[in-house]
Symmetry: C2
Subunit: 511 residues, 2 copies
């Protein structure tokens, strides 16, 4: 309790969304306070206070016994200058951890509970451990639909919210899991060409072989300042930018940073994450795509329906016009998997190239059509035809080119990676299944998304007849080591099932 002061030092370690403080083992304060490693301490300087997890250091090159070191983000958050005087203290738990403990205990939490939790997370009062505790306690089916609504609202309240000054701001979101599913890059130009405002921001790939931001980056700059993004949207009614700079719903990003390494995933958290991000981005009308298939994120129609109803309930509570479309997720969409190959597919569809992948075109038109029907002037059921007219007439391509120019065009070259491996059918028959997870894994091992030209290019899709020795797909890589690794993986499991024609179910039948 002897409130001795220390000199503040910035320690150039990026501990991501966790504040870490470094004290030397010989530091008088550390010794007197009886802190334990992993203790949470309160650091105060010039009227500001932050909480941080303690790491103990034995190297004076990192901190001396007279200094307190803070990791990058902790240093920024304390907002004090290096070398200024800081004092440290035992930290109480973040008050809202009581609510987390009540949730662990099986209680239902209120809106106020969720607000105090997200507030504490947003101000970095939670350690990674505490965020993990919150995620597990609220994971699986432990949140009822009102709690999902409360969580979404609380996450929304902790961040900024964009206002586009228009009555209709539309967006689409796919829950993910299907390689090659680059519909946003077709939906945005079609919908924007219809005149609707669709300011689309996307993520980069995290566990997949390509995100929309990675693929769009083949064609144009995606890392845009908020000012530039607004300018492009106002001029062209749409954009295809990376959402990383926006800092919307910051709590969502922080929770995801813990959720992902844990590999935990719950429907409630997914719904809260998606809706808080979309509402923060100013969307008023949202189309959600839930692909269903044996190797998709959602594997059964009944699960898809339950998820749809949860989206609808929470969306209604929050006053967003939300529709859910359940799509065929039994195999990858399009041919290419990997940024360059997917960008090529997208441009083929926009250019009405006869070799363009028909499934990517059809799915994109279906989604764009549903969004166009958000327009009160469009008669129910006419959206698809309008979308098709926009695409067939070349207006979608013109709009895409305008957006590309606006964001900053990249010199485009769709040449795939230098190493190519042909994967062939070992017998005659019909392709009865393509494993989304395995195809994504092969493309990642081959180097996607880091190596833009790496990935997989599908030649046959489900239902196609093949003879023994026919090429099923190509693998492309930029580096020999990746290439060999991918070849080895394919030897174990090439992701294709060759069966009889009767093995191929219709999408409806599968449900």
């Amino acid at each position: 309790m002897n409130n001795q002061t220390l000199k503040l030092r910035r320690v150039a370690i990026d501990t991501y969304h966790e504040n870490v403080a470094y004290l030397h083992r010989e530091c008088a304060v550390y010794r007197a306070e009886g802190f334990q490693a992993l203790s949470k301490i309160r650091v105060s300087a010039s009227g500001n206070r932050i909480l941080a997890v303690l790491n103990v250091v034995d190297d004076e090159a990192i901190v001396t016994p007279f200094e307190l070191g803070l990791s990058e983000q902790a240093f920024q958050q304390l907002n004090a200058c290096a070398d200024c005087a800081v004092s440290v203290d035992h930290a109480e738990y973040a008050a809202s951890m009581d609510a987390v403990r009540r949730k662990i205990n099986g209680e239902r939490l209120s809106l106020i509970d969720f607000e105090s939790i997200t507030q504490d997370i947003a101000t970095s009062r939670y350690s990674k451990m505490e965020m993990a505790a919150f995620l597990v306690a609220t994971g699986q089916n432990s949140l009822d639909r009102d709690e999902v609504y409360f969580l979404t609202r609380a996450m929304l309240e902790t961040g900024q919210r964009l206002n586009w000054g228009e009555l209709q701001v539309v967006d689409k979101h796919c829950i993910g899991g299907i390689p090659g599913n680059r519909t946003s890059m077709l939906v945005v130009p079609i919908v924007a060409a219809h005149g609707m405002l669709i300011p689309k921001t996307s993520s980069r790939a995290i566990t997949s072989p390509a995100g929309t931001a990675d693929t769009m980056e083949i064609l144009a700059e995606v890392n845009l300042s908020p000012e530039k993004l607004h300018d492009i949207v106002r001029r062209h009614r749409g954009c295809l930018a990376w959402g990383g700079t926006a800092r919307l719903a910051p709590v969502d990003d922080m929770l995801i940073s813990v959720e992902r390494p844990l590999g935990i995933d719950s429907q409630g958290q997914m719904v809260a994450s998606i809706l808080s991000k979309k509402l923060a981005a100013g969307s008023t009308h949202l189309l959600i795509d839930i692909p269903v298939g044996p190797t998709a994120k959602v594997r059964h129609m009944r699960a898809a329906l339950a998820l749809r109803k949860l989206f609808e309930y929470v969306g209604d509570q929050l006053g967003i016009h939300l529709e859910v479309i359940i799509t065929d997720g039994r195999q990858p969409v399009g041919r290419g998997i990997g940024p360059t190959l997917e960008a090529r597919d997208v441009m083929q569809v926009l250019e009405n190239d006869p070799v363009a992948p028909a499934d990517l075109r059809q799915k994109s038109l279906a989604l764009a059509g549903r969004i166009i029907e958000f327009d009160p002037d469009v008669r129910g059921g006419y959206g698809f035809a309008i979308a098709r007219d926009i695409l067939d007439s070349g207006r979608a391509l013109a709009k895409m080119n305008a957006i590309i120019q606006g964001q900053g065009a990249h010199e485009v070259d769709f040449t795939p990676g230098r190493y190519c491996h042909e994967v062939k059918a070992d017998k005659a028959g019909v392709v009865s299944a393509i494993d989304n997870l395995q195809m994504a894994k092969i493309a990642r091992i081959a180097g996607a998304p880091m190596d833009k030209r790496a990935g997989v290019d599908l030649v046959r899709k489900t239902g196609d007849a093949v003879s023994a020795g026919d090429v099923l797909y190509y693998i492309y890589a930029e580096f020999m080591s990746d290439f060999e690794f991918a070849e080895k993986l394919v030897e174990q499991n090439n992701g294709y099932t060759i069966g009889e024609k009767t093995d191929v179910n219709k999408f409806d039948a599968f449900m």
Copy 2:
């Protein structure tokens, strides 16, 4: 996937039970692999492999772009020399995280699941986040009694197990929460004087104002090598040592390091923690003390009974002879709270000093008597009288002095802290309640256990009549700042309730 090698560097940061790796932001491997901060990576060197959480560094004084830094314990675990070549890789999740996710999902886990989890924790394959996920998933009432048994057995299997080579090795354990409850320091000499083997190791205070190890340290050395400890036990049949060096049930220590900062606590985990530690220490006969009271850990008799049955069930499965005693936990035991003051109480009882606290004596005799009845030669019901004879005759004191000499006697001075504050009754009446939690807090704020002489010395106990102005207790501190802080705390709540004689319930009635 380009398996470039880096130079290993030891980074002198103590990240406790979590392996942390440090890569420079400009490091080619970091850039190529697309690691995210907080990613888990696999580090390989000379045939050894460890998993570590990644921190990204911008300071070449910590690691250069050609080095991989490892925190202290990660460096030790990899067991490779500094400057040797290491390679890094994306790490798969620890395989047993699947079982944790199944538990989150509400499934019941098998012995094999718990074994793979504890094995992965013991080999540092879990991050703090993953341990938090496991603790929350298995917290509260989510483990049935067989799962508690599986967890205990799995924790036991990951560590060493002592074998004393005797048929009976006795021990006692209190679940904690009652200040001043230093019965072990009386039970050990009494039971050892009876001739039973009682190799007692204790913890230091973590959230309490004194642990048995802190209090014993006033009298003797407690930090003993395993060899010395064995020697003392063989010679004197007992010891009172700090258990920190033993490395028994290491998974328990690692889980506690996460559990404590989270402030989560479950009966299943407590039972597994206590029993795995005791069995690893070689105990064959164990007495568990569960104090019950409104400010104790267990607040109702029905909860104490449920906990007793859980202890009994798991103990029986593991083949330890276990008995549970439910004791009066409505107020602190003895007078002193804090290492020096508690050591004084203990010695007064051993010396049969007429001012010795009667409740500490009575409770210790009751516990020692029950343990003595583990002796097959002692007739049921005669344990208490045997214990009392040992204490009254001075044999317990002689045994204690022998143990103190064996461990290494400290020069003893029971003078309390230099600053003294008298807390007085503000009205006449009868002390009807003393708040364990508040008294512990006051003692800690005053400086205990770091300042050995700091703490609280109770003058009145529950049931005592007081006049207005009578001293209820003294607060002692070594430092003025602590002293003033404690005075302030007492002004808000001095922990005592003064009421009518009829307010004082009997222990039975309270139940």
